[in-house]
Symmetry: C2
Subunit: 267 residues, 2 copies
């Protein structure tokens, strides 16, 4: 079982879109996949067609009331499930501030969950608060969706620093196993420059000789190209494969899934 | 003096880019403009070429240690100043949780500020936490940068609800005076559909007859078109006008500034 946190504190870089479409791509290969939506805006849930319902419990109840994940999980397609979020989660930062071991809540809920999956994928909000820290403490791996823009690259050192802190204090097995280039605009100088900067940054951080959580991080060769159909799919509450199976977006996410599966051999 | 919060809890919709470029466009007309960077990632500061320096106080010190804004403000161009942010601001949510009147801290600092500007523009982080609430309590007006995508539109009702709460409990004069369409891709069906949905939503919310903070909200006619030069300008730490004065981005932000100035007559 691979437990992966999709995180990046920069907003709008493709975290949710990648969580949903990569999860769907892996499910199409027969692997059992569970998405956990940790964003109070519940965009991953919405994108999978699971809309907020007044009295339905959500991941908020898991964290604040210890409701088992199995009671919250709903089907979202063949081999695909989602533990939905809701807006109450926005209060979790303050509500959990005084809870002992607040960073380990999700990890313990997942350990108690009888159902096993091939992949558990956690969509994180655009911040480094208690929800993202819960995901990093529960995960074995981190995938970093990244838009090849300057402001998105600017935050990588803080992202790495946070992952390092969690690895040292809360979750020694945590590694950054992949960086996913999203909304890639082929042919622009900016994309090429940012990619160069990123590669240089990885090489430089490795030269220190110290083993870090990103020492073995790879930049996936598949670029998720900017393609309006990917954004349209969200408005239909379906992954890209159900909406427009022959577009760039479907090919790119299928190709990314193949690279992710190829990593399994090495694990 | 107009005090404007640029906010949208959805990530990556163009808040920072619009704060910086609209502020620069207004400054080019001779108006005195101060940007306040309330995002812990300090992207507005970086985009204005004001890089984080160890030991330099920031808006964190204003909120947590009551340092006057005048001591924090640095020049960022002709008629343009910025009160920079820093990463310590990320802890403000938890650090201020127990502070009495934590939502009014920025409002009171601004009231004490001897220097008066024509425009004060606050860049908010992608959340509805204490930093954004401080901006809404200190502001007279809200501008909502919005990418014409489904997930961005999805959050508008929560955004309006939050502004309504702040207007009722903390700041009765607060209104949403403008919605700015960013990263607009002309000719795509999605942009046109989202724009229609947004217009319908505004009409519907007005029909209730009750006066709300968005009753007079206008969708600015200027669309900020997607244009890679706008993203490139951020990596040079300059507003678009200094980087590429003849591109779509410069024309769009200049046109937006003209619409914003035209609103002054009505104020
Ligand atoms: N490859 C793509 N091509 C075109 N549009 C895309 C692509 N990937 C994502 N988008 C759109 O870009 C916007 C940002 O993506 P998304 O919401 O997945 O990012 P995020 O990092 O999850 O944002 P947040 O920080 O708010 O959680 C969305 O409107 C989405 O539909
Ligand atoms: N008109 C545009 N054309 C092309 N790229 C743009 C445009 N406006 C903004 N961008 C780029 O899109 C990305 C998102 O914009 P920006 O960072 O301003 O959004 P934001 O809402 O402030 O994000 P966050 O939620 O992280 O604070 C940035 O990399 C920016 O350079
Ligand atoms: Mg998201
Ligand atoms: Mg921003």
């Amino acid at each position: 079982m691979r437990t992966i946190a999709l995180m990046n504190q920069k907003g709008g870089v493709g975290k949710t879109t990648t969580t949903v479409n990569l999860a769907a791509a892996l499910a199409r290969t027969g692997r059992k996949v569970c998405v956990i939506d940790l964003d109070p805006q519940s965009h991953a849930s919405t994108h999978l067609g699971v809309l907020e319902e007044a009295d339905r419990p959500s991941v908020y109840d898991a964290l604040v009331n210890s409701t088992p994940l199995a009671e919250l999980r709903v089907p979202a397609g063949d081999n695909l499930w989602v533990v939905p979020s809701d807006i109450n989660l926005a209060a979790a930062e303050v509500e959990l501030a005084g809870t002992v071991g607040r960073e380990m809540l999700l990890r313990d809920l997942m350990a108690d969950d009888p159902m096993k999956f091939d992949y558990v994928m956690m969509d994180c909000p655009p911040s480094l608060g208690v929800l993202t820290i819960n995901a990093l403490t529960a995960a074995d791996e981190v995938f970093v969706p990244l838009q090849p823009h300057f402001l998105a690259l600017h935050g990588m050192s803080k992202l790495f620093e946070t992952v390092d802190l969690v690895a040292r204090r809360l979750n020694p097995k945590l590694v950054i196993s992949g960086i996913i280039l999203c909304m890639y605009e082929t042919g622009t100088r900016l994309s090429a420059e940012i990619l160069n900067d990123l590669e240089d940054y990885l090489v430089q951080t490795r030269q220190s000789g110290r083993k870090t959580p990103w020492t073995d991080a790879t930049i996936f060769r598949t670029r998720i190209r900017r393609n309006i159909k990917v954004a349209e799919a969200a408005s239909f509450g379906r992954p890209i494969f159900d909406y427009e199976p022959a577009c760039h977006g479907s090919r790119d996410y299928a190709s990314l899934a193949r690279e992710v599966i190829a990593q399994e051999m090495g694990i």
